[in-house]
C-alpha cells in the first residue's frame, strides 16, 4: 500500500506518495533505495548516485535533510502533531512575534497565489505574508501597528 506524505519545505507543501521504492510527486516518479546508517544518518541511492542525509522524528513530523536541503514530512496516519504554525492552511499566522506594518487586503478580496496580503516586521526586517494559493480572504484579524504572536490568526482564507 502506498504511503501518503505531505512534505513541507519552508512554506511550500507537496503531496507525495511512496510505494515499493517509487516516489511520486505531481505525477513524476523516481525510484530510490534508502538505508539506515549509524548516528541518525541515512543513505539514499538513486541509480548510481548515493547521498547521505539525516532524519529525525519530532513532534511535528519527520524532519529530513539531504545535501543541504531540509524538509519536514507528515505521514498519513503517523499521528504526528503538526506545529501550530502550519496546523491550518486556511488560517495564516505569523512565523514569530512581529509587528504588523501594512495590510494590503480586506475581507472578501479575491487574491492569486503569491499576492501580498500583509507585511510584518521583526528583527528589523520586513516580512511579506503572501497568499498561499488562489482564493478569497474571509476575514482579517489584525490591524496595522499591532504586535502579533505565533498563535495569532492574521487572516482567514478560503
Amino acid at each position: 500500500m502506498a504511503t501518503k506524505l505531505r512534505v513541507t519545505i519552508g512554506t511550500r507543501e507537496f503531496a507525495a506518495s511512496v510505494e515499493a521504492g517509487v516516489v511520486t510527486i505531481d505525477g513524476v516518479e523516481g525510484t530510490f533505495e534508502v538505508a539506515a546508517g549509524a548516528d541518525g544518518r541515512w543513505t539514499v541511492r538513486q541509480g548510481d548516485a548515493r547521498s547521505v542525509g539525516a532524519a529525525l522524528k519530532a513532534q511535528d513530523g519527520t524532519w529530513v535533510t539531504l545535501a543541504g536541503i531540509t524538509a519536514r514530512a507528515d505521514v498519513e496516519g503517523a499521528g504526528a502533531r503538526p506545529r501550530s504554525r502550519t496546523s491550518d492552511a486556511d488560517a495564516l499566522r505569523p512565523p514569530m512575534s512581529a509587528t504588523v506594518v501594512r495590510i494590503h487586503v480586506t475581507a472578501g478580496a479575491v487574491v492569486n497565489e503569491g499576492d501580498p496580503l500583509l507585511v510584518l516586521e521583526a528583527m528589523k526586517m520586513e516580512l511579506p505574508i503572501r497568499a498561499p494559493r488562489d482564493g478569497v480572504v474571509k476575514a482579517v484579524h489584525c490591524r496595522e501597528g499591532e504586535l502579533v504572536q505565533p498563535a495569532t490568526i492574521l487572516v482567514d482564507f478560503e
Binding site: 512534505v7 507537496f14 539506515a36 544518518r41 532524519a55 519530532a58 519527520t62 529530513v64 539531504l66 536541503i69
Partner: protein
C-alpha cells in the same frame, strides 16, 4: 595586555572573540539576556553576567547594564563585536570615561565616520574618490545641465526630498538631459511638492569591494587586502569572497592606498573596513565601518592573520604584530552566511529548535557559529545560524569546498537558506563574476527555492522510510544514549 575582557555581544562573534582571548591568556566575561542563558557564548567565557530581558533594547543595547557587568566582574576592557553597540560613539565614550579600554577606534573617530556626509568630506579631502554628485546651484535647465556635465554620464537625477524611486531618472547623454530633467522635476513636485533634483553619477553594475585596514597607536596603518561582497540581498551580504576575483593588481594598488589614506585621514586606530563600489576601473568610497566585520574570517584565511588577536594587541597599546611587507594573499576564501530563513517565502525568518545541528568538517573548512544542537532559535535576534568559511588553493577549489561544506551541513528542525547559497555558488554568472550588487534581486528566480525535483523526490523517499515508527531503522528512538549500539549494520531499507 588587558586582564579581563567583557564581550558586549552574543552568538558567533562573542564565541569567536572569547576564543581569541583564551588563546592570549586573557580572561573573558560573557553577557547574556534571559533568552540566551545556556547559549554557547555563555559557556565559552570564564564568567557570565545576565543583563536583562530578551529584547535587545533591554539587554545587549543597554549601556548601563553592560558597564555595571564590567564593573562587577572587574573587567578592564570591552569588545563590542559587530552590530548592537559596536558603532555607537556614545557607548564608546561611556566605556572610555569609565576608565575601560574600548576594543575599537576612539569614540570621536566612530562619530566622525558615523555621519555619511562628514565621512565623505573627510576621505574626499584625503584624495579618496567618492561618487560624484552635487545639488545644482539653481534648478533651471541650464544649471542642472551644467551639473550633469560636471558629474558625468551616465548620471542619475534624484528628488532631493524624495525616495522610493520617485523623481528618479537615468540620463545617459546630453541629448537625453532636457527631457529627463523636466520629467524628474515634474514627478518630484507631484510626489513631494518639491521639484528640487540632485545630480549624481550613476554607478552601473557595481561590485561591492571593501578593504580591511588595521592601525596601531604607534602610527602604523596597514591594509589586509580586499573582500568582494557583491552578492547581496536587500543590502545584506550573502556570500563574500577574498581576494576580489575581478580586482586587478592595479586596482588593488589604488584601492588599498585609498583605504589607508582614508583611515589615516581620521587618525584611525584598530580594525576597520573601507567600503567601495567598483565599476569598471573606477571605484568610489561608500562608507567606513569602524568595527570588525561579519566577513572578517575570509581575510584571516587568505592572509594567515588573526584579526581579533591583532585588535587585542592594538587595544593594549602594543604595536601591530605585522608590517605591510609581511602581509600577502595566499589562495582564495569564501564565506556563506547560513540563516534560519525560508527563501521560498521571501526569506521569512524562521524560528524553532535545532533538533539536529551538525557542522561540516574537513581541511580548509571553518564554521563560526554561536548555536548548538538542541538550542531553540528564537525571534529576538538576527537569524544568522553560522558562517561557513572555506579556503582553497584557488577560487575554483574554494568554491568546490564551500559547496561540499554546505552539502554536509545537517540542520533539522527549521528551514534555512543552504540550498539558496548552494544554488548561488553553482550559478554560471556567479562563477564568471558576471554579477553586481543587485544581481540576486534581479535573478532571484534562479536561486529560489534552491532545490531540484530530484532532491525533493529523494527527500520524500528518505522521509517515508525514516518515518516508519517502531522500525529498527528509526533514528528517533533514542539512538544517541549511552546504551546505543555503535555498530548498527547498514540495514537496507527496502520499503
Amino acid at each position: 595586555m588587558m586582564r579581563r575582557v567583557l564581550i558586549a555581544n552574543r552568538g558567533e562573534i562573542a564565541v569567536r572573540i572569547i576564543r581569541a582571548c583564551r588563546e592570549m591568556g586573557v580572561r573573558t566575561v560573557a553577557v547574556y539576556s534571559e533568552a540566551d542563558a545556556g547559549a554557547p557564548h555563555v559557556l565559552a567565557a570564564d564568567d557570565a553576567v545576565e543583563i536583562g530581558p530578551a529584547a535587545a533594547s533591554d539587554s545587549y543595547l543597554k549601556v548601563d547594564a553592560l558597564l555595571d557587568a564590567a564593573r562587577r566582574t572587574d573587567a578592564d576592557a570591552i569588545h563590542p563585536g559587530y552590530g548592537f553597540l559596536s558603532e555607537n560613539a556614545a557607548f564608546a565614550a561611556r566605556v572610555e570615561s569609565a576608565g575601560l579600554t574600548f576594543i575599537g577606534p576612539s569614540s570621536s573617530v566612530i562619530a566622525a565616520m558615523g555621519s555619511k556626509t562628514a565621512a565623505r568630506k573627510a576621505v574626499s579631502a584625503a584624495g579618496v574618490p567618492v561618487v560624484p554628485g552635487e545639488t545644482p546651484a539653481s534648478q533651471d535647465l541650464a544649471a542642472v545641465r551644467a551639473s550633469l556635465g560636471r558629474v558625468g554620464y551616465p548620471a542619475l537625477l534624484k528628488a532631493t526630498a524624495g525616495g522610493g524611486g520617485k523623481g528618479m531618472r537615468i540620463v545617459r547623454s546630453d541629448d537625453e538631459a532636457d527631457e529627463a530633467i523636466a520629467a524628474a522635476s515634474r514627478e518630484a513636485t507631484r510626489a513631494f511638492s518639491d521639484g528640487t533634483v540632485y545630480v549624481e553619477r550613476l554607478i552601473e553594475r557595481p561590485r561591492h569591494i571593501e578593504i580591511q585596514v588595521m592601525a596601531d597607536r604607534h602610527g602604523q596603518t596597514v591594509h589586509l587586502f580586499e573582500r568582494d561582497c557583491t552578492l547581496q540581498r536587500r543590502h545584506q551580504k550573502v556570500i563574500e569572497e577574498a581576494p576580489g576575483p575581478t580586482v586587478t593588481p592595479a586596482i588593488r594598488e589604488r584601492m588599498t592606498r585609498a583605504a589607508v589614506a582614508a583611515a589615516q585621514a581620521v587618525g584611525y586606530v584598530n580594525a576597520g573596513t573601507v567600503e567601495f563600489l567598483l565599476s569598471g576601473d573606477e571605484f568610489y568610497f561608500l562608507e567606513m565601518n569602524t568595527r570588525l566585520q561579519v566577513e572578517h574570517p575570509i581575510t584571516e584565511e587568505i592572509t594567515g592573520v588573526d584579526l581579533v588577536r591583532a585588535q587585542l594587541l592594538v587595544a593594549a597599546g602594543e604595536r601591530l604584530p605585522f608590517r605591510q611587507d609581511d602581509l600577502s594573499v595566499r589562495g582564495h576564501a569564501v564565506e556563506c552566511r547560513v540563516y534560519a530563513e525560508d527563501p521560498a517565502s521571501g526569506f521569512l525568518p524562521q524560528s524553532g529548535p535545532l533538533l539536529r545541528y551538525r557542522e561540516p568538517q574537513g581541511p580548509g573548512i571553518r564554521v563560526d557559529a554561536g548555536v548548538r544542537e538542541g538550542q531553540s532559535i528564537g525571534v529576538h535576534y538576527d537569524p544568522m545560524l553560522a558562517k561557513v568559511i572555506a579556503y582553497g588553493e584557488n577560487r575554483t577549489a574554494a568554491f568546490a569546498r564551500t559547496t561540499r561544506a554546505l552539502e554536509d551541513f545537517d540542520i533539522l528542525g527549521l528551514q534555512h537558506n543552504i540550498g539558496f547559497l548552494a544554488a548561488l555558488l553553482r550559478d554560471p554568472r556567479v562563477v564568471a563574476c558576471d554579477t553586481h550588487t543587485r544581481f540576486i534581486e534581479e535573478h532571484i528566480e534562479s536561486f529560489v527555492p534552491g532545490y531540484t525535483d530530484e532532491q525533493l523526490h529523494a527527500l520524500v523517499a528518505l522521509a517515508a522510510v525514516a518515518d516508519g515508527s517502531g522500525d529498527p531503522r528509526d533514528p528517533g528512538s533514542g539512538g544517541r544514549g549511552p546504551g546505543f549500539d555503535p555498530f548498527e549494520t547498514l540495514n537496507r531499507g527496502v520499503f
